[in-house]
Each structure stands twice: as structure tokens, then as C-alpha cells.
Symmetry: C2
């Protein structure tokens, strides 16, 4: 990795329910924010269906293109939970029943061992060579294969799994950001904002309109890994907002 090159990640959200519009994904927002804080930039996300070919293609394209890949969804006990088998195929290795995973499931079901049927036992199957990711909520683990982290789709479980794996990530410098909001329109600000962006290439300046109390406003988000560069650009944006006769509201 080139020194100072950003550490990159891609998220693959697996599940027909996301694409059909039935379920609102929230894992992207969580992971995007948390990875950013660890100095890892989520630069792409893909939502794919519960279909083996689609999962294999996405995993193989993304693991070659990015430093880290995260998948969410498809690791439960039902017939449409095909993520572990698909990831095994993507890596060209067999699935095998993991002893540690099996022990966790047995402990979880110790008072109702009869419930640990073949469908639930499937949750102990991981690709050969995988390193487990603990699931403190319902015990069925996620796993890591090289730079690919396979997580649950249920947000509460996915978030708990992230706590277990986060120390395995080597991040770069975290991006810091400052948001300045004002009742001003994008078009009034665009030319001068582009000048600031051109003058401060080490920052990333985005602008996002909002509608509040029937008034159109704009949030300008300035992001940078370097605190001094961030401060200089924020100062210029603040000045620009005042120059345009508006009052900047600021939050980190």
C-alpha cells in the first residue's frame, strides 16, 4: 500500500428484501460511519440478490479492488441463506463445520438441544481457512476469509460482530469533518465553493440542500485527514457564507 494512500473498503449487502423495497438497509450507514472513524474509507457499496452467481461475482470483484470487503446478510438457517456457501465458492475452498462455532451453538441451545436441528447446525459451516467473528447476541458466528468479513444482516447482530472484528483492521488517518449549515441556496454558492475546493485539494467539500420550516437551506460538509487543512477550508467556507449575507451554523 502506498504511504498515505487511503485504506479502502467495499460493502456488499446481500438480500432480496433490500432490492424489492421491503426492507430499508441501515447497515451501510453504520459501517460507513464506523469505518471512517477507523481511517478506512467505504468507497463503494453493492446490494445484490440472494443468488450464488451474483454473490460470487461481487465478492471476487471487490476483494481484488479494495483493501477490505464486508458482507451483510444471508448467514442464517434458512434455504435463502447462501452467503457462506457462496463465499466458499468465491475462494475455491469447501465449506466445513467449525468445531468452535458448533460449541457456541451447543452452549446457546444447551437447555433445548433438540432445537439444534440440521437447519441451525448449518450456521456452524464456514469456508475452510475462515477465522470466526463472534456473535454475542445469538451465537451463530460471522467469519473472515482473508480481507473479506462476512457479517449478519440483522443490524443489532452486525453491529456487535463489528466490535469483535474492528481490531483486525489497519486503518489510515481518519477523515474528520465539519458541517456548516445556512439558509442559502446551492446555486448562489456554487462558483465560489468550487474555487475553495480547487484551492484546497487536500479537502473534500460536499454540499447538501435541506428543507426546514419551509425554507431551503444548504449544509456544506468539509472533510480532510489533516486538521490544519480542514481548518483553513472551513474558515473560507464560513467567510463565504457570511459574505453571502447568511449566518453559518456549525457542527463537527
Amino acid at each position: 500500500m502506498i504511504e498515505n494512500a487511503p485504506v479502502t473498503a467495499c460493502l456488499i449487502v446481500i438480500g432480496n428484501e433490500i432490492l424489492s423495497g421491503r426492507t430499508q438497509d441501515s447497515n451501510l450507514k453504520f459501517l460507513g460511519g464506523r469505518l471512517n472513524g477507523l481511517g478506512v474509507r467505504l468507497v463503494e457499496a453493492r446490494m445484490v440478490a440472494d443468488e450464488e452467481d451474483a454473490i460470487i461475482a461481487a465478492v471476487n470483484e471487490c476483494r481484488a479492488a479494495y483493501d477490505y470487503v464486508f458482507t451483510t446478510g444471508g448467514i442464517g438457517p434458512t434455504h435463502d441463506d447462501i452467503t457462506p456457501a457462496s463465499v466458499a465458492k468465491a475462494f475455491g475452498v469447501p465449506l466445513r463445520r467449525d468445531e468452535q462455532a458448533l460449541a457456541w451453538l451447543r452452549e446457546h441451545y444447551q437447555d433445548h438441544l433438540g432445537d439444534l436441528n440440521e437447519a441451525r447446525l448449518k450456521m456452524a459451516d464456514v469456508p475452510e481457512g475462515a477465522i470466526l467473528i463472534e456473535n454475542p447476541v445469538s451465537k451463530a458466528p460471522g467469519f473472515q476469509m482473508e480481507n473479506v468479513f462476512v457479517l449478519a444482516g440483522v443490524p443489532m447482530i452486525m453491529e456487535a460482530m463489528f466490535e469483535d472484528l474492528k481490531d483486525r483492521l489497519s486503518g489510515g488517518q481518519p477523515m474528520r469533518s465539519v458541517t456548516l449549515s445556512a439558509y442559502i441556496t446551492e446555486g448562489d454558492m456554487a462558483v465560489r465553493l468550487a474555487e475553495i475546493q480547487a484551492r484546497r485539494p487536500e479537502t473534500e467539500i460536499g454540499s447538501y440542500p435541506f428543507l426546514r420550516n419551509a425554507r431551503l437551506g444548504l449544509s456544506v460538509v468539509v472533510r480532510a485527514t489533516d486538521d490544519q487543512a480542514l481548518k483553513l477550508a472551513v474558515d473560507e467556507v464560513r467567510e463565504l457564507i457570511r459574505f453571502l449575507g447568511a449566518k453559518p451554523l456549525e457542527h463537527g
Copy 2:
């Protein structure tokens, strides 16, 4: 297109704010649901950064792979709004200022023509050969290039644009779905549910756990384009839930 082959679509969500975790995307959910109703299946979605190379690659891969491609975001007046220029490059054509788009902007700003500065005029630039998509909210249009529909990122505007373009889509048979919910766990149901899925390959059966009033439940969603196939599978899932001693709650 093969007869009865599903009509497919891919959504490309463009914007750093989605990937950084700052903004929760809601356009995927809207488009997934609306396209489904028109007989078009959203089979993939990609979130990419405001970067030309990423946009060009996603547009070119998706327009070759799917019947329709939708993009949201990046068509405003600021420096980070680079979608039209990137789509033009993806198609290998120049951007040009569109007379109709210009007329719409002039009408919108008629009482404040001084506000129609160079940044806002940029919103009248579309790739050569594009067909405009009307924006009743703020006038700056979206556009269609062959099978690619370029829409605003602001949900209210994107949704209004979708109303304008939807008659241009030729859908297949819409997927209908029935959801059966019960206080039952996935693992108890998985083996028999897989048997129903195997017996009814013309349907698509998904199961989604939920937690309500501190009780774990499961929603089983059965989808099919054929009403009779849907009914047969739903009857079997309903019977299975009753067989397992639970009470099915049903909604379409």
C-alpha cells in the same frame, strides 16, 4: 429479451454523503418497490463516490448487464455534481446545453434572472442525444440516455421525476407478494420451508426475523408473478405455521 424472462434494472446511487454514513439513502427502497409494481426487478444497486472513474465504470457495466439503469444524485449546480459529465463520457458523447432545459430554468428564475448564474446554467447541460426528464419541483431536469435514466438525489425530486419517466418503461409481469408473520423462529421452520421452496420453484420464499414486544418472530414473504402459484405456496406456508403451533398473521 426471452419471453417471460424478468425485466431487470440496476440502481446506481452517486454520492460521498451516502458512503460516509452521513446520509441515509431512501431512493433504493422507493425505486425497488415502484419498479416491482411495474414488472421491473431491481436486481442490483451500487453506491459509488462522486468520482468520475467510478461513475463511468458503474454506468457502463450496468447498462450492458441490465435492461434499465437508474442513477440518483450529482445533477445539481455545485462542483461535486459531476453525474451528467460522467454519463456523457460513459457514452462517448459531448455534453451540450439543452434549449428546452434552459427554457425551463429561465421560466423558473424569471423574477430573479440574475440568479441564473453559470453554476445554475450547468443544470441545463446534458449528454448529446439525451431525452429530458421533467422536474416539477425545481425545474432542473433529469435525462435519459438509451436505457440509462439519470435522476436527482433529493428524494422528493427523484420521485417526481420517476412519475415522468415511468411510461417509458416496458415491464414484465409484476411480482405479487404475500407476507405471513408469526411468533416462531427461523430455525424451527427452515427445513420444511426449504421443502416448500423446492416444491414451488416458480415462487421466491424469503424469511425475515423480527423482534416485537421482546418476542422473536418471523415474517415469511412469498413472491411470484403467477397468482395461482403464489396462492399454493402461501397455503402451504400457512399450514406449516399452524403445524408448528403458531398463529399466522397475513398481509398482502
